[in-house]
């Protein structure tokens, strides 16, 4: 694989949040290990899905990659450059290559700005910084084109966010993300807050845009069905670690990691006969606290197939087939 094929490379990313106690003199009593050593690559044109339940660290990973959250350690290489080593000015310039679509269409738009201005804002900011060379009219024109492309009538450019529905707001968010012609779009739960009948509209839109604009996606969600539909590759996260990475069809048909299996079996299918006949793996207990330091497998306490070794050592993420990696001792020796 030529190195230029890889757009984003994440190496051993860690994001720890300090836990401070005390009112007058605050001392650090521990760390919340939100992201605890995550590594993956995204190739140009791919859509990588990061899936996991709440607290697994997927959103924090996305924010750290986007340089909106300071990483504790690790590298984020975009087209070979380590983003965390860039100067503030260089980073600002680099941001034009990766843009975000956020989860909450109600809070990701400034309620005091008109839709057209929201979409044009990135262009205007970079125009002032001298990076974008467009006239004001050109910016307005581009905004209108983007709105149309995202399924919004340009006549709505003068309206305020509260005058739009949730799905329309998300379209505004997407149009804004595309305004700088980014190479990578980081979508953090882009459809989770939308009604079912609107979700498919937005997912279809994203797929169309990916094709037309030659986009690469990092797609974060907790809904496995959505991820399986949209993404070409999927990484399953648990307690700050990646447990398994595979192509989307493969993950569904041949899940290897016990957590992936439990996750898949827990997803309710809109098919009564299948639901009646399936055997669910019901996990016991709850997700353990991410503030406990551990050197064993994060899934140890709840794993139906845990062995003694799992309680003592932490398995590494290893490839067991082409494009299929798993962090589990059950598959040791299968490489």
């Amino acid at each position: 694989m030529a190195a230029t094929d890889t757009l984003l490379s994440v190496r051993d990313l860690k994001v720890y949040f300090p836990i401070n106690k005390g009112i007058i003199a605050r001392r650090r009593v521990g760390w919340v290990r939100a992201v605890d050593g995550v590594s993956f690559d995204i190739k140009r044109g791919e859509s990588l899905g990061l899936v996991g339940e709440s607290g697994c660290g997927k959103s924090t990973t996305a924010m750290a990659i986007a340089q909106l959250q300071k990483a504790t350690s690790g590298q984020v290489l975009f087209e070979g450059r380590d983003l965390s080593k860039l100067s503030p000015a260089e980073l600002r310039r680099a941001r034009t290559d990766f843009q975000l679509v956020f989860q909450d269409p109600y809070s990701s738009l400034d309620p005091r700005m008109r839709a057209g201005d929201i979409i044009a804002e990135p262009l205007r900011i970079y125009k002032r910084a001298g990076v974008v060379d467009m006239s004001d009219e050109e910016i307005v024109k581009k905004t209108e084109t983007l709105m149309e492309r995202c399924g919004l009538s340009p006549t709505f450019a003068g309206r305020y966010p509260h005058e739009f529905s949730g799905g329309q707001r998300q379209r505004i968010c997407i149009a804004r993300a595309l305004s700088l012609n980014p190479k990578l779009v980081i979508a953090d739960e882009p459809v989770s807050a939308l009604d079912v009948s609107i979700q498919s509209q937005i997912l279809n839109l994203l797929k169309d845009l990916q094709k037309d604009f030659d986009l690469t996606f990092l797609f974060i969600a907790h809904d496995l069905a959505v991820i399986e539909y949209f993404c070409t590759r999927i990484a399953v996260m648990y307690l700050g670690h990646i447990m398994e990475t595979a192509d989307s069809g493969t993950l569904y048909k041949e899940p290897l990691h016990p957590y992936t299996r439990a996750l898949l079996s827990a997803v309710p299918l809109p098919d009564p006969k299948k639901e009646r006949s399936r055997r669910r793996i019901i996990l016991k207990g709850d997700v353990p606290s991410p503030s406990v330091e551990r050197h064993n497998c994060p899934f140890f306490e709840r794993c139906p197939e845990a062995t003694e070794r799992c309680g003592k050592e932490a398995p590494q993420l290893r490839a067991v087939a082409a494009g299929h990696e798993v962090a589990c001792f059950l598959y040791e020796g299968r490489e």
Binding site: Y229, P268, L269, D271, D286
Partner: protein, 332 residues
């Protein structure tokens, strides 16, 4: 009313006064619930499913809301016309509810034990010690480890999943006839959701409790419910047994919904294919136009669809089945 029916809702109508006009949140909803049956009410936001549930138990805040019509017949009596006090006594005892957010449903300053025993003491007149023992038993039943000690913990010391399990336990502790679960697992992770739904299923089938499951998740109803009502813009547009609904949906909205959700069991087989999507957006409930509220988005809409609301067409079969759509009704 067959012997088997435990709840009958007829023509329920609830409205809200807002700055923009009157919102007809529930506009003529009727359904039956049999003893031991699990009924699913499915709809998106604004469909009226939650308001229906609250109306049944007379929990609509008035003002600005008001139940303006219909009957809710339980145990031979119309709940909507009973004095407030009598209905209040039924809540928790005959008809129990669990809601979406377990954190706000539990009192943060009382221990879990106290909250369970309160229900028991109130409705079953148990003594304190007896109630406490029963509470611990309930906690064990719902799978809380170390139940004796944890009974004295406070809600914030439990995780979201555990709290919801406690809510289920409290709701079922008094052996109600009906459990109404309003989006009980929407805020929970999918593996926890599986635990909760499993729990509800087992406990309710053990005790022959009827369950009304309100949700927007079609997967959940496929696994939990025997019959389903699909709601749109305050009305029930289709009602069928679960198999009939999923394998032979009649209303275009139901069909559209089923076609537009990404199917996990189709993983890897989508390729370049796009999901079906219902065009347009759900209607505003203020000033609903004449006719069928789904007509603007319906690929099969006819002329009459924008003029008059279609009557209910009933189908024969083991389970009650009906749809409100001009595709099946005779235009007169």
């Amino acid at each position: 009313m067959s012997d088997d029916t435990i709840l009958r809702v007829e023509g329920l109508m609830t409205q809200f006064k807002t700055d923009y006009g009157i919102v007809k949140a529930v506009d003529g909803v009727s359904f039956d619930l049999r003893r031991g049956e699990t009924l699913g009410i499915v709809g998106e936001s604004g469909s009226g499913k939650s308001v229906t549930n609250l109306s049944i138990m007379r929990l609509i805040q008035s003002p600005p809301g008001k139940t303006v019509g219909g009957k809710v017949i339980y145990d031979g009596r119309d709940l909507l016309s009973l004095p407030e006090e009598e209905v209040r006594l039924m809540r928790g005892k005959n008809i129990s509810m669990i809601f979406q957010d377990p954190l706000t449903s539990l009192n943060p300053v009382l221990t879990i034990s106290l909250q369970i025993t309160e229900a028991l003491q109130l409705h079953h007149h148990m003594g304190k010690r007896e109630a406490k023992a029963k509470a611990v038993e309930m906690l064990k039943l719902i799978g809380i480890p170390d139940a004796e000690r944890r009974a004295n913990d406070y809600p914030h010391e439990f995780s979201g999943g555990m709290r919801q399990r406690v809510m289920v336990a409290i709701a079922l502790s008094c052996n109600p006839d009906i459990l109404i679960a309003d989006e009980p697992t929407t805020a929970l992770d999918v593996t926890i959701q599986a635990q909760i739904l499993d729990l509800i299923k087992n406990l309710s089938s053990e005790r022959h409790t009827s369950v009304i499951m309100i949700t927007h998740d079609l997967g959940v109803v496929a696994g939990m419910c025997e019959s389903i009502c699909v709601m749109y813009a305050g009305k029930i547009v289709e009602r069928a047994s679960v198999d009939d609904l999923f394998y032979d949906p009649k209303h275009p909205y139901t069909r559209g919904l089923l076609d537009s959700i990404p199917r996990l069991d189709k993983a890897g087989a989508y390729g370049d294919e796009r999901l079906y999507s219902i065009p347009g957006i759900p209607p505003s409930l203020v000033n609903l136009p004449e006719g069928c509220p789904f007509a603007p988005r319906c690929s099969k809409a006819k002329d009459i669809c924008t003029k008059a609301y279609p009557p209910e067409t009933k189908f024969d079969g083991e389970r009650p089945r009906s749809v409100s759509c001009w595709l099946y009704a005779e235009e007169k």
